[in-house]
Symmetry: C2
Subunit: 291 residues, 2 copies
């Protein structure tokens, strides 16, 4: 099928961070011929986005945006700001403009945004892609290529299909999921691993303090890979943990149980159960490589 990016002729990306910038740069690279506009409260970020050639024009005031040219708005600011962004843009939107986001948390938030933005259509989206870096200056062309993108919709309609085409043309593999299932799944596979990486580095800080040995002088094999995500943005992750609190706490409790189980087997020197447990885990982890 021809690349038409869902037929959207003008895209406004709100938030010129790593994801917003990567969408803009990837659109250009993939041959998108419509307008790409960027909005950010920071003059500096907008300036960078324009300099990098990510956007055709950049704005720091909503009233300056040529709203009659915009038929797709992508909210790419921190999750916490979504409601106020939606309130802020609503008066400006022309009829038929579709609004979407790239946030890691859906659930109630999607329901709220759907309501706020009525009669416009809001469609929650979550690209499963990113790096631990921040800012438009670290934007990556092709960041979404071959990566999953979750659309959290209840019903598939014309707008949904257009947005699906938009992301497919950017190279994403689109899946549809209800917003609550989404939050549980990503609490498990993304938010929990981040919490664990943060806690691991914190434990090493505490153990270094306790013993006077700077443990960070001895990063063993795998340790750097393992804790790379602990360098992720504190503000972004504070927001995600709190916005998805219920699911995150549920998965942390499950994880603590797993640590306690392992601890118990080690304490008891229960070799058989240890090998059995570690073998099952190894099998499961190896099965991922095939994907």
């Amino acid at each position: 099928m021809e690349k038409d990016f869902g037929g959207f002729k003008g895209v406004l990306i709100i938030g010129m961070g790593l994801i917003g910038g990567s969408i803009a740069l990837s659109l250009k690279r993939e041959g998108y011929t419509g307008k790409i506009y960027g909005f950010d409260l920071s003059e500096e970020r907008i300036k960078k986005a324009v300099e990098l050639g990510a956007v055709d024009r950049g704005f720091t005031k909503l009233e300056d945006v040529p709203w009659d040219e915009i038929d797709l708005v992508i909210i790419a600011t921190p999750v916490k700001t979504f409601e106020s962004v939606a309130q802020g843009i609503k008066p400006f939107l022309k009829e038929g403009t579709v609004i979407t986001d790239v946030g890691s948390v859906k659930g109630e938030l999607v329901k709220k945004l759907e309501e706020i933005l009525l009669p416009h259509r809001f469609i929650g989206a979550h690209p499963i892609a990113g790096t631990e870096k921040e800012g438009v200056e670290n934007a990556v062309i092709g960041l979404f290529k071959g990566k999953k993108l979750i659309l959290t919709v209840d019903k598939e309609d014309e707008e949904t299909r257009k947005l699906e085409k938009f992301w497919t043309d950017l190279g994403s593999k689109v899946e549809v999921m209800d917003p609550y299932t989404h939050d549980f799944v990503f609490a498990s596979v993304s938010h929990l691993p981040h919490a664990v990486a943060f806690a691991l580095v914190d434990a090493l800080i505490e153990l270094s303090d306790e013993t006077g040995i700077d443990l960070f002088l001895y990063p063993g094999a795998g340790f750097k890979d393992f804790t790379r995500i602990a360098a992720s943005s504190p503000v972004v992750w504070k927001d995600i943990f709190i916005e998805n609190k219920e699911s995150v706490l549920h998965t942390i409790d499950s994880f603590i149980k797993s640590v306690e189980k392992l601890k118990e087997y080690i304490q008891k020197e229960d070799e058989d159960r240890l090998v059995e447990l570690l073998s099952e885990i190894r099998q499961k982890r190896l099965s991922l490589e095939e994907g």
Copy 2:
């Protein structure tokens, strides 16, 4: 200084696994001109080691080894077998032969091996290098290049300096540490991260079972890196956890405290303390990149 690998003329590597194989192949590549012999109970592994050109000759019976040619023995079997290996080889050793190992656990074990092998000199060594793979067929030339190697010695003497030269000529950066400090340090930076990775995958298995959603279909950004070490050998890690039980349990307890702290801040939605904690962690993790 000229490369003389500490002046050792004949090396016997006991255990033709990933590490043993990588030592043998790396010795050849780095221009070692002495004999490299391999020993393993498994005919198959010895056959592979000979086929790969890792060793000059391979043996499966201790009495077949030309012991009068051996002045360095490297024990590269699982940690758990070290005592019986030491007992087994002791009657064969010629005067002046130095024995060393490549195990991840030192402490009491080193003390025991030093005693068993008297009047021969045992020097504990731990190369901080490896992969999650196993077996001589996955051996890596240059595995130790630029990597730290810890010698756990109380006093530096001629034998220690020879072994230090051996590893330096293989490209390692040698550090000296007492065996108990070693165990605490590597419990923290290696054994704890492995325990955490195992527990994380286990938690996802449990959460998948609980909800009927196969969470492994959604490996998010960083998840594969993060849990790669969960595919490490179950038997090797069962041994390490049990051999280094005291330090491992100590670091697991510290880690659980860090998880509980993070959980508390999320539960209370304490944004300030969350950002402060995550920022401190991020700073510490970023400081590693410079190393």
